[in-house]
């Protein structure tokens, strides 16, 4: 009887602990957006802003997952060594591209509008980038990977219905296809982009 009570106690405790540790995807986006906004509106030099933005990305974006996704069918034919090389290159490419896209904004105002759970693994957080004197309002959906609810990760940004991950996947596949399926041409293109 005592044993079963202890078991129930631990089960209840585990349940509540998990609930407390689980991070709401919309809260994650809210925090990231606020953090990025503070960095971008600061008077720090650009290099410092880039380092801070990259830290946000490394913590909250599933860079390895996106990298594998963007390889499409070609990820199945990579050797282990090629995979290691690709992951390293993709990370550098992603971070450079990520910070370069953001650093042009001085103080973007993004508001979380809603959150929709698709299944256990994914939740879509809908946000709006507010209209400025130059740009119209832009809808941005964040595809959040929630398999581990304690550590949700961003896997895709869907800007006005257009998926950035899908676009990148088709871009990478185009490079490989146009070079007779040789992955080394993709490596070369990534290297060129990184040192540019």
């Amino acid at each position: 009887m005592t044993k079963s009570k202890i078991l129930i106690f631990f089960l209840v405790l585990t349940f509540f602990t998990n609930s407390l540790l689980a991070k709401e995807p919309s809260k994650l986006i809210d925090e990231i957006v606020n953090e990025a906004s503070i960095i971008l509106s600061s008077s720090d030099p650009v290099e410092s802003k880039i380092i801070k933005l990259n830290n946000i990305a490394e913590t909250n974006v599933d860079i390895d997952g996106i990298g594998m996704y963007t390889l499409g069918k070609y990820r199945k034919i990579l050797s282990e060594n090629e995979k290691i090389k690709y992951k390293k290159l993709f990370k550098s490419y992603f971070l450079k591209s990520f910070s370069s896209r953001l650093v042009d904004y001085s103080d973007p105002k993004i508001t979380v509008v809603s959150e929709k759970k698709i299944n256990e693994k994914y939740t879509i957080v809908s946000t709006v980038l507010e209209e400025t004197s130059k740009n119209p309002e832009i809808k941005i959906d964040w595809r959040i990977y929630t398999k581990n609810p304690e550590r949700p990760l961003i896997r895709d940004l869907i800007v006005e219905g257009l998926s950035l991950a899908r676009t990148q996947k088709e871009e990478f596949n185009s490079i490989i296809q146009n070079n007779d399926g040789d992955i080394n041409y993709l490596f070369k293109s990534l290297e060129e982009f990184i040192i540019k």
């Binding site: 809808k139 990760l153 219905g161 257009l162 088709e170």
Partner: protein, 269 residues
């Protein structure tokens, strides 16, 4: 001959409106097209890729020397002027959207657009002011004949790039041609029929302004795309095809309808 020239000029402006001035692609893209092929992946072939890439480069050059500088200049106009212009052009696009609403069975949307068009054209002074939104009739998505064909199950056909006109598919080009066969009331009153009220040039100016307005709204987005792409041609093709699917679906739920097979295999947690 004059009519053919007119049609060419008009196709140009319509294309400028759709995604414009960038062009290009490669190989074959796989996109999930719910409307025509639920749950299956449909292939959009990039016909004449080598030629397309050449045309794409030409279009980019043209954008650099023509459209981009004009769009930048347009940005210097006071915001009320730009908003008024954008509103008036949106209002005018209803003459194509409304018949397409009906052809796609969106009768409620057609009704709303008829009301919006009537109110904005009169009280809103030729659409310059969006009075209808003030009365709770919010702006709906635009529709065109290419989207209608897509809704009816017509496949994209080849993806290709036209000089000046930019990226398109066989289906979208056929859709554009319907505009010149009586499907666009604005074209009918300005070019097809001799009316005392409008000149041919009214049509061309409206299309050109719409192109410039679109380009001006997307200056930073295009610059960022150019800066961060390692194969810009492929990126533009992907974006064009995704955009067309989204418009045909008339849904912001593209994130849920896209083929997730690739993601499912990737387990990083």
């Amino acid at each position: 001959m004059k009519k053919i020239l007119n049609i060419f000029i008009i196709v140009f402006f319509l294309q400028v409106l759709s995604l414009n001035v960038f062009a290009g692609s490669d190989g074959t893209v796989e996109l999930n097209n719910k409307s025509s092929n639920i749950g299956k992946s449909s292939e959009v072939k990039d016909c004449f890729e080598t030629v397309n890439r050449g045309v794409f480069a030409f279009n980019q050059g043209l954008d650099k020397v023509f459209f981009k500088p004009i769009a930048k200049g347009y940005r210097y106009l006071p915001k009320p002027i730009r908003s008024g212009t954008s509103n008036a052009l949106n209002n005018l696009s209803n003459v194509v959207t409304i018949p397409n609403n009906i052809l796609q069975g969106q009768f409620i949307d057609a009704g709303i657009n008829v009301l919006r068009f009537s109110i904005n054209t009169t009280l809103g002074i030729a659409g310059i002011f969006d009075v209808a939104s003030y009365y709770g009739l919010n702006k709906l998505d635009k529709e065109d004949y290419g989207q209608t064909l897509g809704t009816w199950g017509v496949k994209e056909g080849c993806y290709f790039v036209l000089p000046v006109l930019g990226p398109t598919t066989v289906r979208d080009t056929l859709g554009s041609l319907v505009n010149f066969s009586g499907g666009d009331a604005w074209y009918n009153v300005t070019i097809s029929n001799d009316t005392r009220y409008f000149e041919n040039s009214d049509y061309y100016y409206s299309r050109l302004t719409a192109g410039v307005d679109f380009r001006a709204k997307n200056l930073e987005a295009f610059e960022s795309l150019e800066k961060n792409s390692i194969d810009l041609y492929a990126s533009v093709r992907s974006l064009y095809l995704q955009d067309r699917i989204r418009k045909i679906e008339n849904s912001s739920e593209i994130t849920e309808t896209m083929n997730d097979d690739d993601w499912e295999e990737i387990d990083t947690q």
